[in-house]
């Protein structure tokens, strides 16, 4: 018989690997194929296991934990339905480049391919929505595979990595030794930008007459906000953030023109369109950001693009100066070059450019009607910003409320705004808030949601109760899938096909049934007092579910209709 005194099970090896990676939380749900792993979790104390109520929420919570901390998020699910339930969460993280390691159980090795109970080809199912995935076939590969998974997830352009582990492997015995380093001949992310290209870019930036900085999620994920602020302030140039990039530059700063894109501000979109030098940093010119590429094209505009992922460069828009590299490193190098350069930005040209921008700002495109007796959703977000001192972590679901949150909650710090930008996954809001609250137990965490989105993961109210997560749920309840309704109003002749939310539950009673505090707010004058109460010390330890009955007809403005150009916005006054 083998000597087992120095050997441990595959499940124990996995747990030890997670300890070595300094994992603090594992979000998961047990099941047959992961019972050995759960048995090993039972007798360990290094990380906390957070039991969710649905595997989708496990991945979302791990994803938000990562977004709020910069660490790799970890989720654990069983084979078959546990694995497929996780897929929406994985795809959500993939689209927003969030580093995750998702461990899925698999049926025992001899049963693979036999249509065994709870078998699904997880590697095949997730292939299009992961950065990489592994099926472990030998217990001696467990440690190296986990090491690689964390390395791949967190380096280069980050993303989710799935590790599928058959049940028999977790029961076998082997010696444990965790590799100190990992080397892969096929994976060497570029970190430092090409110095020649950076010099060229700096020269162009200093010679710009109508410059514009356009920054995305890469600045947040790459922890480059400090360098970006330094660069932007030194240059005195206008800046806009994408939905994913909010907080990368302080939203309350006068140089910040607000978010750009389909629901971006008039001034940000016009400046994007009319600038002569566009400096794109960690952003990817996606369809919701620049609209129609042909309309976006300008002969007299030069584009500099900094991104860690070469395939993001010149994908939708041809750029003139590509710089592949880690955003933080490239920005630091740019700052050094600017520091040393004797040339200064063209003050006269810049003054004229700012004058133009101020004229666009005068449109006051985010103005909304405050004279009614009905609660305006924008008003709730503005009051939330005031009551929380602009310092809360805000998660959102997907739809109108998401856009209002992005427009009216001015994020001054990175990693404060947690939402599904790329995939646009309804239902993320509550599990996102769980992940954030666990990462920052003392912080104010608000989940801005709608009555439709919240119902997609509402079972997590139970998880919040179990783990004492005092999230504040801000439901902007307009009894419609608001964004669907808006498109039906604009583009489908007011035919509101299946977008009305009938038979809504009594959210106050529902919250109470889960052991939380429920509030219903129906008058504008009650908005601020209710928010103050929810965020008061008295309710600090409690989850408060706030059901704001808002204007059913309110639309998100400005709006660039699908397929149109950035300067073809509809403003509210035009309707």
């Amino acid at each position: 018989m083998e000597d087992r005194t120095t050997q441990i099970t595959g499940a124990e090896i996995l747990i030890r690997c997670l300890q070595e990676e300094n994992v603090k939380f594992v979000f998961g749900y047990p099941g047959g194929a992961v019972l050995n792993i759960y048995d090993a979790i039972f007798s360990q104390t290094h990380f906390k296991h957070v039991l969710v109520r649905h595997e989708q929420a496990a991945v979302h919570a791990a994803d938000a934990y990562s977004r709020a901390t910069g660490e790799v998020g970890v989720a654990l699910v069983t084979s078959g339905p546990g694995a497929t339930n996780a897929v929406t969460g994985i795809a959500t993280a993939y689209m927003d480049s969030i580093p995750l390691v998702v461990i899925s159980g698999q049926v025992p090795t001899p049963a693979i391919g036999m249509d065994a109970f709870q078998e699904v080809d997880m590697v095949g199912v997730t292939r299009p929505c992961v950065k990489h995935n592994f099926l472990i076939k030998d217990i001696n590969d467990v440690a190296m595979t986990i090491k690689k998974a964390f390395y791949i997830a967190s380096t280069g352009r980050p993303g989710p990595v799935v590790v599928d582990i058959p049940k028999d492997i977790t029961a076998q015995f082997a010696k444990f030794s965790y590799p100190k380093t990992v080397e892969m001949r096929s994976y060497n992310p570029i970190l430092k930008g090409h110095t020649g290209q950076i010099k060229k870019a700096v020269n162009l930036i200093l010679n710009a007459k109508r410059p514009m900085l356009y920054t995305g999620g890469g600045v947040v994920l790459g922890d480059a906000a400090d360098q970006l602020v330094k660069l932007t302030r030194k240059l005195g140039y206008p800046i806009t953030n994408t939905l994913m990039g909010l907080g990368g530059y302080p939203g309350t700063d006068p140089q910040h023109l607000g978010m750009l894109g389909m629901h971006g501000t008039y001034e940000a979109n016009m400046a994007m369109q009319d600038c002569d030098v566009l400096i794109a940093i960690g952003a990817r010119f996606d369809d919701r950001v620049i609209g129609n590429t042909e309309h976006f094209f300008r002969k007299d505009r030069t584009i500099i693009h900094v991104d860690v992922d070469p395939s993001s460069i010149s994908k939708r828009v041809k750029v003139d100066i590509p710089i592949v590299g880690h955003v933080q490193s490239v920005l630091a190098e740019m700052n050094e070059l600017l520091e040393a350069d004797t040339k200064k930005p063209d003050t006269a040209a810049l003054t004229a450019w700012w004058k133009q921008i101020e004229a666009w700002r005068e449109k006051k495109c985010l103005t909304y009607d405050l004279s009614t007796d009905i609660i305006k959703p924008q008003f709730v977000v503005e009051k939330l910003w005031e009551v929380t001192g602009g310092d809360a972590f805000v998660t959102s679901d997907v739809g109108q409320h998401q856009m209002w949150a992005a427009q009216y909650y001015k994020f001054d710090k990175p990693r404060r705004w947690i939402n599904s930008g790329g995939l646009g996954t309804m239902g993320v809001g509550l599990p996102y808030a769980m992940g954030v609250q666990l990462a920052h137990p003392e912080a104010q965490v608000a989940c801005i949601t709608g009555e439709a989105s919240i119902q997609m993961c509402i079972q997590e109210l139970s998880t919040c109760k179990q783990f004492h997560l005092p999230v504040k749920v801000i439901t902007l309840n307009n009894r419609y899938m608001g964004m669907v309704r808006q498109w039906q109003e604009f583009f489908y002749g007011n035919r509101y096909s299946e977008s009305y939310m009938d038979a809504l539950p009594d959210f106050v009673k529902l919250a109470e049934a889960y052991g939380h505090v429920g509030m219903r707010i129906e008058k504008p004058s009650d908005v601020e007092p209710a928010l103050k109460e929810a965020f008061s010390p008295k309710l600090k330890e409690r989850l408060v579910f706030m059901d704001f009955l808002t204007d059913q007809k309110e639309n998100v403005f400005p709006m660039v209709p699908n397929g149109k150009g950035l300067s073809e916005m509809i403003l509210s006054e035009e309707l």
Partner: protein
Amino acid sequence: MKHIISLLMENEAGALSRVAGLFSARAYNIESLTVAPTEDATLSRMTIVTSGSEEVIEQIIKQLNKLIDVVKVLDLNDGRFIERELMLVKVKATGTLREEMKRMCDIFRGRIIDVADSSYTIELTGAGSKLDAFLEALDKTVILETVRTGASGIGRGDRILKV
């Protein structure tokens, strides 16, 4: 424009499906795809024949490079290269056709590798365009069956794709 892309990748289960999946997910064309292990058993070499605008080809190369299992990618069309494909064609060989098929085979420098009472099997190697030309030169009714390997390509002279 047609491009021939060569790549080296880790010889691991599922690596082929990652490449094939990438092409279908991003709606890139595949005319042919061949893959086999190299003299280094840990590496597979793949040749993909695709077509698209310069922008699309640039994206294909970048997306291939992004796959974790892919070690090196080379667009053979960036320089001088040789393309070869093998085709086996079974043709009718009865009566006067027996002589005619032999002659066609010789003209295209093919070889008859199987002889039966009423058919020949011809082996032909060359660039894809040469194989196309051979098929076009034959009367459609004499072709009983064809099988092609898809193109393999290699750079000329000093152009070497190696780890």
